[in-house]
């Protein structure tokens, strides 16, 4: 059995809207192991985004336990969560979320700055990550000088650069055309083959089919958690 990276045990998230309680997640339990390729699916309002925020340590659950590599993050404070996000999670967002005024290289360096790595080492690692996503000739370009696909590649390089435990991709192809989307999915497949653990959050069946395990969420509960017998080979 491979190492367990994520342990979610009866996690719940309740929002208070005035006097009313909104149950975004009721009771969710999931384990994810090293080098898994998991898709989390669900319609909007299912609790999928809440689960993704908790997985990414951007939010804390109101009940249950969540641990990354045995470190309990469910009760951590803001700064401790920032540290976990920095070291263990690589984010890829639907809208890329790159800094518009910074070059590709600078954008990829960003997580390393907050890890306290020296400028020369940062540059070296960032260059390596950009090479991995095939953008070695776009290092000095700013986001507005890049195509959508290229921007997402920069974001993926940024997610990879600090060797995180998981790569958490939220609708990574949502803002891309089909062909470019396929290229990005190919990149994820390559990363998986290279040993990375990938969690894909999506509402698109076609995209989810690339994963090897598909978890479906509905009304704050896990509807199904199945192995994908025939993942799409990109």
């Amino acid at each position: 059995m491979k190492k367990r990276i994520i342990e979610i045990d009866k996690v719940a998230k309740v929002y208070k809207m005035g006097s009313e309680k909104v149950f975004a997640l009721r009771e969710v339990s999931v384990d994810i192991h090293e080098n898994e390729y998991v898709a989390i699916m669900g319609p909007s309002g299912s609790g999928k985004s809440t689960l993704m925020n908790i997985l990414g340590c951007l939010d804390t659950p109101t009940g249950g336990r969540y641990a990354i590599e045995e470190a309990d993050v469910s009760r951590m404070n803001d700064n401790q969560l920032a540290d976990i996000r920095n070291r263990k999670i690589g984010f890829v967002f639907q809208t890329f979320n790159l800094l518009p005024r910074a070059t590709s290289l600078k954008n990829v360096e960003l997580p390393l700055i907050y890890a306290g790595i020296s400028a020369s080492e940062r540059q070296e690692k960032a260059k390596l990550a950009l090479k991995k996503v095939g953008l070695e000739d776009r290092m000095t370009h700013k986001p507005n000088e890049l195509s959508g696909g290229q921007r997402q590649r920069v974001a993926i390089a940024r997610a990879l650069v600090n060797n995180p435990s998981i790569i958490l991709a939220d609708e990574p192809t949502g803002n891309l055309d089909t062909k470019t989307g396929e290229e990005i999915m190919q990149l994820f497949a390559d990363l998986w083959k290279g040993g990375n653990t990938i969690i894909l959050v999506t509402h698109e069946e076609d995209i989810a089919k690339h994963a090897h395990r598909i978890i479906k969420i509905r009304d704050g509960l896990i509807e199904s958690d199945l192995k994908n017998p025939a993942p799409v080979i990109a």
Partner: protein
């Protein structure tokens, strides 16, 4: 905080400031004005101080002036007016009795003198009768010709040494040695010119003429005013001993009983220094008031701009936080930006004030009045240091609340904003 984070915060704040130069400039305007106030004020006071100091040096820090009147003021004017005059007999007795002093030079003064030279009549200055010893004091330094000799002094020769302003006005820079003038109708021979000593406060020093005491008494015989006695102690250390002796001698000459107060004053340049110090305090308090006011306006301006900056960068803050930036890291980014704005304000203010100071010092004395000659061409550097420090601290304070607000933003919400 790690070094990488600090230098990143600095780079971000610098970029942010340069990205909107006009806005940054306007934001720092309040601080710029505040600092300029302090600097200009400090510059003027510094100039006054050194001008003042020069004058004190001429009057002599080790010189006591025994006089009917008190320089420092604040005493009962009626009591002072009723004091008996210091007469020439008392002066002579005093001179004979005092042992510790280096120099004693009495001065009798007659106001409203007139001088006729080449048919032109000049008036509105005093004639001073003094002794040869005055020529040995710093106030008796000569620039053209010579001072009167001991012999001329004793003899009461009709010779006159003129103050610098009178020399410039009447003789227009020509060598006046040997010229015969009429002083209040009496013929006198000009033998020298006293070095320029005054400034805007002590202009009168250059607006007087000196003649030997004996000539003074002879010419203006029924002199019914008090004579002032200058006593040079030789050194500041010797001042206390000389003051005690002078007081004792004066009291015995004036026949004072032990229970009676002194009916004369022993004046020192220190008395002026006290007055100047209180003047300084007033100028500073007014200046500080204005400065605080413009700093408050400046802080509000900067705080406002920082709030705008936080709103503009909300998405960026979200991204940075998602990628691992801690609260302190985000907060520093904004505190530094705000401090940098104030720092730039300070630097701009230095540049502007330096230019003002230079041109003011070079041209104002010529254009307006040479009384402004005390202005220095350079700014007081220690003040620049403090002004910079204060502005940076003020900047950090102004940026604090916006910075804390930025640091507390929720990364998910922040990333969603456009």
């Amino acid at each position: 905080m790690k070094i990488a984070e600090i230098s990143e915060a600095f780079k971000i704040s610098l970029e942010a400031m340069l990205a909107s130069k006009m806005r940054s400039f306007l934001a720092s305007l309040g601080v710029l004005i505040g600092i300029s106030f302090v600097i200009i004020m400090g510059w003027i006071l510094d100039g006054l101080d050194s001008a003042m100091q020069d004058t004190f040096n001429i009057m002599g820090a080790d010189v006591l002036y025994i006089d009917k009147f008190d320089w420092a003021g604040g005493k009962n004017w009626d009591e002072i007016r009723q004091r008996k005059n210091i007469t020439i007999e008392q002066v002579n007795e005093f001179t004979a009795k005092v042992k510790n002093a280096e120099l004693i030079f009495p001065t009798a003064r007659r106001w409203g003198a007139s001088m006729v030279y080449e048919g032109e009549n000049y008036s509105g200055f005093p004639i001073l009768g003094t002794t040869y010893e005055q020529s040995l004091s710093p106030a008796g330094e000569i620039t053209v010709g010579r001072h009167f000799s001991q012999f001329e002094d004793l003899q009461g020769a009709n010779v006159v040494v003129v103050g610098y302003n009178i020399y410039e006005k009447i003789f227009e820079g020509k060598n006046p040695e040997g010229t015969i003038v009429k002083l209040n109708g009496h013929k006198f021979r000009v033998i020298g010119v006293i070095k320029k000593q005054g400034n805007m406060f002590f202009d009168f020093i250059d607006n007087q003429v000196f003649i030997p005491m004996n000539a003074f008494l002879k010419t203006f015989g029924n002199f019914d005013r008090s004579i002032s006695i200058g006593v040079k102690a030789g050194s500041v250390d010797n001042l206390d001993a000389v003051r005690d002796e002078v007081r004792g001698v004066m009291r015995s000459i004036r026949d004072l009983k032990p229970h009676q107060d002194d009916d004369f004053s022993i004046n020192e340049t220190k008395a002026f220094e006290k007055q100047v110090a209180s003047l300084r305090t007033i100028v500073w308090s007014v200046g500080i008031g204005l400065t605080v006011l413009s700093f408050v306006v400046g802080i509000i301006g900067i705080m406002n701009i920082m709030f705008v900056s936080v709103v503009e960068r909300t998405k960026e803050i979200g991204i940075r936080k998602a990628l691992g930036a801690k609260r302190a890291s985000i907060a520093w980014q904004f505190i530094m930006e705000s401090a940098l704005l104030c720092f730039m304000g300070a630097i701009l203010s230095f540049v502007i004030c330096s230019v003002i100071a230079y041109f003011a010092a070079v041209y104002l004395p010529e254009l307006i009045s040479d009384k402004l000659g005390f202005l220095s061409k350079t700014l007081p550097y220690n003040l620049l240091f403090w002004a910079t420090l204060v502005s940076v601290v003020v900047g950090m304070l102004a940026g604090l609340i916006p910075a804390v607000r930025a640091a507390k933003l929720d990364p998910v919400d922040a990333m969603r904003s456009e």
